[in-house]
């Protein structure tokens, strides 16, 4: 799934939605998770520039489209797939009006370091992104989700360490435009 390919007009980026304090908390949790990894901690100690490089990489990874991330919940929903099969006899797009619902998805950051050798580290920290949608409509064409629009989306962030939530933060409630098109249509599965 491509979440950060282009920058369409009116695009919504996760790093633009979170405030400085939330971003600092995420970076702190990532660094602490990196220090819990013995090998990665030794690398950071011997190569101090690695710490800032990790933070830069995490900031860059936070630049993703939260709606495209949560849209995976729509693509895998049985009700939406069944509705598409019922109304998808023609090639015309279908608009599905959805009831209030919420989608939650877990994100696990992984760090890949290249200093002469290359090694990937799965950090012991998890980010949970939750979206509460109300009054939205999906536009599906050719079994692909093309856009979402006309409703509200409340975003919340949950940071877990070793499975336990340590940070819970309501990010923002978005008023979605009439049609928010994804960079790439998402196939229903």
């Amino acid at each position: 799934m491509t979440l950060t390919t282009e920058t369409p007009a009116g695009a919504i980026w996760f790093d633009d939605l979170i405030d400085t304090e939330t971003r600092a908390e995420i970076e702190t949790e990532v660094i602490e998770a990196a220090n819990r990894d013995r090998v990665l901690r030794d690398l950071i100690l011997t190569t101090p520039i690695l710490r800032s490089a990790i933070l830069r990489a995490v900031r860059a990874a936070l630049h993703f489209d939260p709606l495209a991330l949560l849209a995976d919940g729509w693509c895998t929903a049985k009700d939406i797939r069944a509705a598409c099969r019922e109304g998808g006899k023609t090639d015309a797009p279908i608009v599905l009006k959805l009831s209030s619902h919420s989608i939650e998805r877990d994100i696990h950051p992984a760090i890949k370091v290249s200093i002469g050798f290359e090694k990937s580290f799965d950090l012991d920290v998890g980010l949970g992104l939750a979206g509460t949608f109300d009054g939205i409509a999906l536009t599906i064409h050719d079994s692909k989700l093309e856009s979402v629009g006309a409703g509200t989306c409340g975003l919340a962030l949950l940071v877990r360490v070793a499975g336990r939530p340590v940070i819970s933060r309501v990010i923002k409630t978005l008023d979605l435009p009439a049609e928010y098109r994804f960079v790439q249509p998402l196939a229903l599965r």
Partner: protein, 279 residues
Amino acid sequence: MKPAAVPVLSACAFLIVSVPALAAQGTRSCGAGAIRAAAAKQVAPRLVGCRYDDVAVPLAQYFAIFPALTKTPGDDASSTILQQTPAAGEPLTAGGQLALQVSVGPARAPQAAEAPAVPPSTDTPSTEAPVTQTPVTDLPPPVSKTPVEDAAPAASAEPQVAGPKSAQPEAVAEAPHGAPPKLAPPKLSLPKFDLPKFHLPEITLPRLTFPAHLLRPGLAWAWIGTALVGVLLFFVWRGRRPRSEITYDRVPQVSARFVFGPSRLSASGPLVLESGAPT
């Protein structure tokens, strides 16, 4: 040149230069290694035949001893140790008593032998603490005032040479009459001082000490040579690499990616309210 070859070549250069020197240091009976080994066994090292200059510093370092020296003339080279007390192999603890008989070289000519003895070596003065001079037998007896009445009338006409007249009666007697007497220079003797012997307190030497033979001046050139060879190889290695490779291969490249888990959709009722064509 492959990067891995640089440390290998440096190690080889170090071994080639330093191992023979180290081996020579370790096998010499007069070297610091032998004295250190003797200090570990608490026995006197074998010093006879060694040069005092070579063993003075190791003795002070490993035994905390400033040996009492007795300087005697001999056929051996100057500063050669002729005798030692206690003998090699006998017990000798740190801070103990060690007496050495050191040669000052061959006996000098008679004119030079009359001069007061000069210490043969001056490069290690700090290690020659209590020096016991060999009694010089040809020194004149203590000066005694000769009564003026005993002097010959002719001699009394001579200017009164200050000093011991009793030291030159033969010279005056052998001189022919009418010729001025040949005056021998007065023989002076330094009064002997009884220097108090002092002993350093016993020092417990640490077990882990940096081997002194690695810091000897002769061996320092081995270190310098090894370092120069290493620096030369390093620059040869760096010079053969492209500039871009030098600049960027040490910069850590870090990338973070997010692994997305499965999404969970929850709705209180039916999810799809209605479907239709777009308006």
